[in-house]
Every structure is written in C-alpha cells, then in structure tokens.
Amino acid sequence: MMEAKFIPGDKVPAWLAELAKERRTAVPRREGGAVVFRPFDPDQPVPLGRQATTPPKGSVFPQCEPLMVFRYEKDPASPDTSQVRVKETIDETPRLVVGGRPCDARGFATFDRVYDAEDVKDLNYLARREHTAFITMACPRPSSTCFCHWVGSGPADTECSDVLMTPVEGGYVLEPVTETGGELLQSSLLEDAGKRLDEAHAVHKRAAEGLGEAPDLSETPGKLLELFDDMGFWEEVSAKCISCGACTYLCPTCYCFNITDEACGAEGARLRTWDNCMSYQFTMEASGHNPRPTKAHRLKNRVGHKFSYYPTIHGGAIACCGCGRCIKHCPVSVDIREIVLKATAAESAEQE
C-alpha cells in the first residue's frame, strides 16, 4: 500500500531539484503576467497557487513536432532518380510535469480515447504519454470560470495523474495515485502525511462544495445535433467571437492537428502542428470549397465536437475538462457554458 506523504513548503524547491535529475521536469513559471510551463530552474520561483495560463498539454503533445525527418539522395549511377530516406522521430525522454491542475491532467483522457484507440495507435503521442508523469495540484478553491464538475470531474480528480498534491497548513500533502506516483515519493525530504491527510481531504471537500450544483448535460449531445441546421442560433451565439484560436490553443482537450512537409533543399521534416477549428483554413478543401465558411459554422463545430460528437462516439465522455481557460482568456469573453446551456434549453422550450 502506497502511503501519502507531506512536504513542508520550503522544501519543495529541493524536492523538485531531486526529481529533475531523473526526468525532464516542467513546472509553472511567471512570465510577463502569464504563468506558463517551463523546464525546472532552481533559480526561478515556482508559482503553484493558481491555474497556469497555458495548460501543460505541450509536454505530451507539443505545439509542433517532427513526426519524421527525410532526405532525398541521388543515385550516383542514375542521376535522374532519387531515393528518399525517412527516419521516425519517437521521443521517449522521461518527463515530469508538476503543478498542473486536475483538469489539465484529465485533458489527456480525451486524447487517449483518440490516439490510443483499438484500431489506431499514434506512436509519437503514445511514446510521450507513456514516459510523462504528472504531479497534479488539487484546487483549493474554484475560480469564477471553473466548471469541471459539469463534465464529470472535480477539484481533486486524479484521472491521468500520478500524484495528487494538496495545499495544507505549512506545505503539501502528496497522495500517490499510480505506481509511478509511488516511485516519485521516495525522497528523504518527505515526511509521512499522518493526520494531514484528513486536512487535505477537507480541502477537496470544500473546493467541491464551492463549485455548486452542476446542470444535467445528459440530453445535450442530442440537443446540439437538433440545432445543427439552425444557423440563426449559431450566428447569435457566435456574434461576438473574433474567430481567433486562443480558446483552442489554451484548451487541455483540443487535439486536432495539421501535417505539413517542410523541406529546405534535399532535407526536410514532416511536421505535426496544433490546428485550430476557429480558423478558416481548418476545413478548407483542395477544391476551394469550405464546408465551414463562417465563424458561426466553426464555433458550432467547437461546441458540437466537445459536447455532442465526441461523447456520442466515446461512451458519453465529454471532450472538455471544464478548466475555463477558453472563457477566462477569450479576448471577448465568449462563454462556452452559456452556449451549452442555451443549446440544452433551446429544444426544451420548443417541446413546451
């Protein structure tokens, strides 16, 4: 049985330094008013008190990665023909992410159903996923934009985490979730949690209570489908959207990507890059036709993908972790909660 541990607040940097020797370790860092994940640096403070501006999604699914590199080589005997040599680039570096929130870690559950499916395995993703551990910070209190409880999660959700870290008086309680998590808690800097474990669980309970009641979204997938052709609805809810990609790029569950071959001379790489369904080019077809020509079509896809199409093919799992970044950092405060509730209520109103 793996036991919970405690670390005094002032020993956290020393502990992180120990962990960073074994694994490439990313931690939150304050930069220009934002909090982003960066490689651990003993000289930099590690702000653990708030949700980072960007999720640690890139540690497992980088914004841009080469899937392979290639090189054209001419055959000296026959200069008109060339051969292409291809090298896969699978990254198995052991990694650790410390200080993400339960929503951040749980985002990978959404990825796993797609990239680790029975019939399709994404080897680049899986290599990183398998070699990345998460020490996740339970949320002591919800933000005004938090809605993880709407999508079946909570402030102390342990899904996809290896260790759950909870702020208590004087430090943090560390609860191992997986075997890897147990291994991460072997440091002599850690003490037994003892009664502090109860304190941590009280923090979890208070945070969950602070979120209030969640609406029932069980009918939402069907209702969104019924609204599919109601462009008046989608134009209204997307009117203020400026169709940038901040929501998708800050989202821990957005997994769409683009692939481009970029070559310089005889060498090049096949790059996989985050794509963005708010962009006109997202569904631009080679013929010139675009099935999602307006921002209304595109926002419909974003909401529909998360709350209807994905749950329909993945056993009801919603492709949103409720972190609220898309609301909090949207330049014009588009609120996906409002759209989901409006869509859920729209059809009920018709039935009356």
């Binding site: 220009g32 008013g33 203020k240 400026i242 901040a246 481009t260 970029e262 963005n276 609120d335």
Partner: protein, 316 residues
C-alpha cells in the same frame, strides 16, 4: 440623466433603422464586460457603459459590411472607424456611430497584479474609483492607476466621429511624444532583442492579436496562414513568431490607431503595442501623420508623392 441612460435612449431611437447596434454588456464576472449585439429594445436594456468596457467594437464592422450597423465607440475606437472609412473598407451610409467621452478604460492586467481575478465577486466604477470585491473584502483603485497605459497617452478622449454623441466632451490632453518608444530605444540592442525573444517564446500562435485588431483586414488570406506560397513555416520557433509580429506591425504602419487590442487580447501578455507604436512614431516623423484622425485624409503608405517633404531622397 446618466450617460448610460442617455445612450440607451439614443440607441433605441435609431435601432428601427439598423440591423444591429454593437455595445457592451456585463460578462462572466462583474469585472469583465463583453460585446453586446443589440437587435431589439430588450437587448438595449442590457447595455453597460463604464471604464470596464474595454473592447474596440470597430473590430466587427468589416465583417458586417452588408448590414446597417450601429457601433458604440470611445475616442480611440472612433479612430479605427475613421481609418476603415479612409481605406474604403466601410461604407459611411451603413455605419451609425454612437460616440461618448472616455476618460480611460481599466487594464485588467493591472488589477490582476493586486487581486486574484479568478475570485472576483463584485466590481463597480464609482467616479474615478474602481471597486473590486474579492473574498469578501473590497479594494479600491484610482482609475488613473489601473487605466490601460494607452489611456495615459491618449489625445482623443472624445469620439472624433459620431452620428450621435452622448454626454459632455472632456478636455483633450497634451500631445503624445512617444516617450515609451524613445525609452525602449535607448536600451542596448542586445537587451531589446532579449526582451522580444523572451516574450515571443510565450507566443502560442493563436493570432488573437490579429483577430482583435480592427485594421487587420486580410481576414482569411493572412500571410500567417497562406498555404501557397507557404510564407511562414508551421514551426513554433521564436524566429517564426517574431517574423509574424514584425509583418503584422509593418502592415499596420501608419494605419494602427493604437487601440491596444492586440496587446489586450494576447492571452500570454506579450507587449505588442510597443511594436505598433514604434512604426507609428516613424510614420509621424516622416509624414506628419496620425492614423484615423481625419476621414478625408489618405494614409501616407496608400499615397504617392514624387518628393516627400521630410525625406531627403537626393541629399547624398
């Protein structure tokens, strides 16, 4: 009658002849305003008008060119409308401008330095004070201290163009001398390069800066996304991000009205307005021109003169 009530009255009067009027309403918390698209009288009742109304709503106008649109503007926003009219990207007869005097908008980034924005319970503006309640405790901020930096430099507090002007015009302050740009330029080159390298590292290539900009009008044909030719690679290196920002700034030279939406929209806090101001400073020195101040003027980079007054082309 309050400014807000007067504005609501004017909008309701004009609404029957318009498809939509764009203003602001309360957002997801009391500190955030959010754009409001008013089509009926009941929508107008949701209008708010105070220094928390930060967005430049002129951003939406080019996307609604075929509609009769009303737009509520602060002084800086009115300059964007003027610039769009100058560039013939809007049709004057389709636009109804509701202007008012603005004495500065709140920078939420400045408030965030003092309180946790995630936990805001209440917020209101009383006179020259912004009051924010977090965790049951109320904090007061003088508007001058938490106003966006652009407001401290603004020379155009009153809407420069309006079909309906609500409220009493305020006195316009002294000229902006680009002291911030001069200060930045006085630093060693390596320090300046380091400043931008560090900032660009955070860039997530979301292009909120571009889409929030009222003068970014290439829309779906932006150099950043163009596939043929593929001007900018998909790599997320600092060089690529910086390349885009420099192109963005160059495209806005002498057109940017310094509303600061690029910088405000950036989720990771990149100080983009400084780049735009650098280019505007150059344009002002070369052409004695400030974007978006006169509807009948032609922006200098859209005009041609054989001999420019301030450019000594043959003195070598």
């Amino acid at each position: 009658m309050s400014l807000l009530d007067e504005m609501k009255g004017r909008i309701k009067e004009r609404l029957p002849e318009l498809d939509v009027v764009i203003g602001w309403q309360r957002g997801f918390d009391p500190l955030h305003a959010t754009p409001l698209f008013m089509r009926g009288e009941e929508d107008v009742d949701r209008l708010v008008l105070d220094p928390l109304c930060v967005h430049n709503l002129a951003t939406y106008l080019t996307g609604l060119r075929d509609k009769k649109v009303g737009v509520v503007v602060k002084g800086c926003d009115s300059r964007s409308v003027i610039e769009l009219l100058q560039e013939k990207l809007l049709d004057r007869e389709n636009i109804t401008v509701f202007g008012f005097p603005c004495e500065g908008v709140v920078s939420l980034k400045k408030i965030a330095r003092e309180v946790d924005l995630d936990l805001v319970e209440d917020a209101r503006v009383e006179g020259d004070t912004v009051k924010v309640t977090v965790d049951g405790g109320e904090k007061s901020f003088p508007l001058a201290e938490v106003a966006a930096d652009k407001c401290g430099r603004c020379r155009y507090h009153n809407a420069l163009l309006s079909d309906e002007f609500v409220g009493e015009p305020v006195t316009e302050p002294e000229a902006d001398e680009y002291a911030d740009v001069a200060e930045f330029e006085s630093r060693p080159l390596e320090e300046r390069a380091g400043h931008w390298r560090e900032a660009m590292q955070r860039c997530i290539r979301c292009y909120a800066c571009r889409n929030a900009c009222p003068l970014c009008v290439c829309r779906d044909h932006c150099v950043a996304h163009c596939r043929d030719p593929h001007w900018i690679t998909e790599q997320d290196t600092v060089d690529e991000k910086w390349f885009f920002q420099v192109i963005h700034a160059m495209h806005l030279a002498g057109r940017c009205t310094e509303c600061g939406e690029c910088e405000r929209a950036c989720p990771v806090g990149i100080p983009l307005l400084l780049l735009k101001r650098k280019l505007n400073k150059e344009v002002e020195e070369l052409f004695d021109y400030r974007a978006g101040t006169k509807v009948e003027a032609t922006p200098p980079l859209m005009a041609f003169q054989v001999e420019e007054e301030n450019i000594n082309e043959r003195g070598w």
